[in-house]
Amino acid sequence: MSFVKPSYTAEESTPMASLREQHERFCAEVAEGLHALAQPLTILRSAIALLAVAKENGGDCARYVELSARQIDRTCKLFASVQGLVASSTVPAEPEPIDIESLLARMVTNRSHTLDEVGIGLAAAAMKSPATAFGDPQRTEQALSAAFETAVSVSSAGDVVKVDSSVSDGFLEFSFESTSKRDNNLKSSDRLNLSLAKANILSQQGRYEFTAEPFRISLALPVHEPEEIESETLFCTACTD
């Protein structure tokens, strides 16, 4: 068994991968998730014991409370990622028209303040040709969030995270780039996020692409044609009547 971190040079979706390959990849991704979980659990296991001691001795409890809270938050996020990874390969997607632009705008707005504090720039381009995607809302949100957080994670002060969107060949594509010049070594939580974004997008007939240099993650979902919306609306109206 190799201990070398996986190479993330370039990756595209491979719909023709055999079942065995898919299973092996899935197992590796879950193992990656468990590996990532082991880090905060190690800190938590000790910090809780240290907190008990500090409390009994009248020592500095605040440090361990703060430390534990941060690691619990981290553990929960990682757990949600592993859960999402498992769900993407065991539960069928439930596609519906999604207003991804609003979803993404909310995500970017929520994060912009904290990014500003650490000196990471954010360049989110307005949608060039507004369109509605057709996908599973929960999975799509999780995939976009995972991709966005990975782009943020590889960035440091002075870098810029760029979020862009475009429509081509019937797909609505969202890209997350970082101007980071750091070498190609992702943390285990980043690798888990990439796996999650990929699994969530591929499980709903989407497209996934990743390149490490320049750092760019691309997620694409089929565009929901306006005619389909109209026909659905008419159908619903007819049913109501």
């Binding site: 201990f3 082991a38 190690t42 430390l67």
Partner: protein, 265 residues
Amino acid sequence: MEVIAFSLDGTSATPASSIAVATNNQIENKKASREFSNSAGRRILIVEDDTDLAGFLSAELEAQRYIVDVIHDGQAALEAIESGTQYNLLILDLNLPKLDGMALIERVRPSHPRLPMMVLTARTGIEDKVKAFHTGADDCLTKPFSLMELLARVQALLRRNSGMIPNASKIGDLTLLREERRVERNGRKIELTPREFAILDVMMRNAGRPVSRATLLAEVWNMPGEPSTNIVDVYMKYVRDKVDLPGEPRLTHTIRGFGYELREA
């Protein structure tokens, strides 16, 4: 040496060693304090790419009065060790960027035979641990581990290291200084490669006793098993040519069909 790593009145900033209080009582805690009292001045290198975990371990070890350096990738760790900084202990993750933990051990072990190495891993497979030990690790701890266990193992490794093998070994007029990585014979400085030094180190530790080729292969090359290669003989000749110059009393002796022995006459 008296180091107040923590105090029972809670005034110290080093509560880590008092975990025992949570489960036992204050007497146990005092024992723990004494147990961790010989840490001052010992330098530990932590190689861990998870910054939160590295920071936590570093803070708790520093609270125990260890001097701690933290590095987040294998290549930088190798450079730090090879730069000449004298570490008393290396704590490393296996899953490291640039140079993985196993490769780091392989690169460091021949030139630092006395440096204790503790592996931290999230992998629970027996074969992974066995491989780590075969590669040259002295201890292996599986995540998520308890800090108390890590501290106890750190103490054990440092105690073993300082007690079992002295820094200097001498036989006849040949002297080997491990920390300084220096070898001299009758005032003559002998330049050895890391591998040659490792061979001589094993021979000096077993001076006066025959050392088998298999032992040398296992200890110097981390290749346990019956030797089917002449690599030991080749390197032993290099060592012999440098240690025993013409006209000097021979210290290296061949034990036919077995291996070698370092002894006077």
